[in-house]
Amino acid sequence: MSDSPQWFDEEAGPIVRPYALIRGRTHSSGDTFDLVATVRVIGDPPDELGPELQLILRAARNPISVADLAVEIDLPVGVVRVMLGDLRDNGLISVTSPSAGGARSNERILKEVINGLRAL
């Protein structure tokens, strides 16, 4: 184990920029997007879209989870959610939440997972 708590960034630097991107907002219609919700592009992007939003649209060309997207574009989840909320409100993407407990309550899927894990 390292001595310093490894989940703190060493610098404030990387934190400032992402929040500038979303103009200091920490809440949006995207707040409730589940980390494993599926993002997919459904609309044609307007030309004047900012580079980060374009980055999201490019990363979501194939359906992708919110968490994978955040890793891919290397921004904190909260920032990504705000941006996804904006894109969704503008009809450019859809975000499909996994129904709570839906998959958990599906025996067939769980058996498939068990077999899949055994085969790893």
Binding site: M1, W7, P14, D34, P63, S65, S105, L117, R118
Partner: protein
């Protein structure tokens, strides 16, 4: 584009919890490709003084890295692993993660068994199916799973198993035990 939208990928969440340095990151890395996922923590008064915050007092949010792993079972069926710090002040992440989660792995170290109490309490209260994986560090006094079960005051149906999180086969066994337990929990609820 007719039936395409109905083919939503199935995404399952598994949490990996436990005290400081107990092997969370190692477990996730043993069984999946691991990536750090950055999320935000709003620093509350509670956190201040607990960790060394010299020089960053002015900041009200900081980023927290979660262990994030992905196991692709097949096209369209993916298991996501999230390893989160165990302290109470990180429970804001757990609340979100445990929503609809398939289950949780609580890693325990018998030399510091009390470290996993908060995790066990948390999942018991949330009704999230969980297993206790006792990470056998070299030289750690070996306890039987029964000792651990008694010390943690676990319900009879909660699986307890010994493991070495550095070994892939052992990590696999932990995950399989959890999903089997979730399946049983589900079957008995029906």
């Amino acid at each position: 584009m007719d039936s395409v939208l109905s083919e939503d990928p199935v995404a399952l969440k598994i949490l990996v919890a436990g005290g400081f340095g107990v092997g969370k990151t190692t477990l996730v890395g043993s069984i999946s490709e691991i990536k750090p996922l950055r999320t935000e923590e709003v620093l509350s008064d509670r956190g201040i003084g607990v960790d060394d915050l010299d020089g960053v007092e002015a900041k009200s949010t900081t980023t927290v890295a979660m262990d994030f792993g992905r196991i692709t079972i097949r096209d369209g069926l993916v298991v996501y692993l999230f390893g989160t710090p165990g302290q109470e002040r990180f429970w804001f992440m757990w609340d979100e993660l445990s929503h609809g989660a398939l289950g949780a792995v609580v890693i325990a170290d018998t030399r510091r068994l009390t470290d996993c109490f908060p995790s066990v309490d948390y999942f018991e209260q949330r009704g999230t199916p969980f297993v206790v994986a006792v990470n056998c560090f070299d030289g750690a006094a070996q306890h039987s799973v029964d000792d651990v079960r008694i010390a943690l005051d676990l319900e009879d149906d909660v699986p307890v198993l010994l493991c070495d999180v550095r070994r892939r086969t052992s990590a696999k066994e932990v995950m399989i035990t959890l999903v089997e337990h979730s399946l049983r929990t589900l079957a008995s609820a029906n």
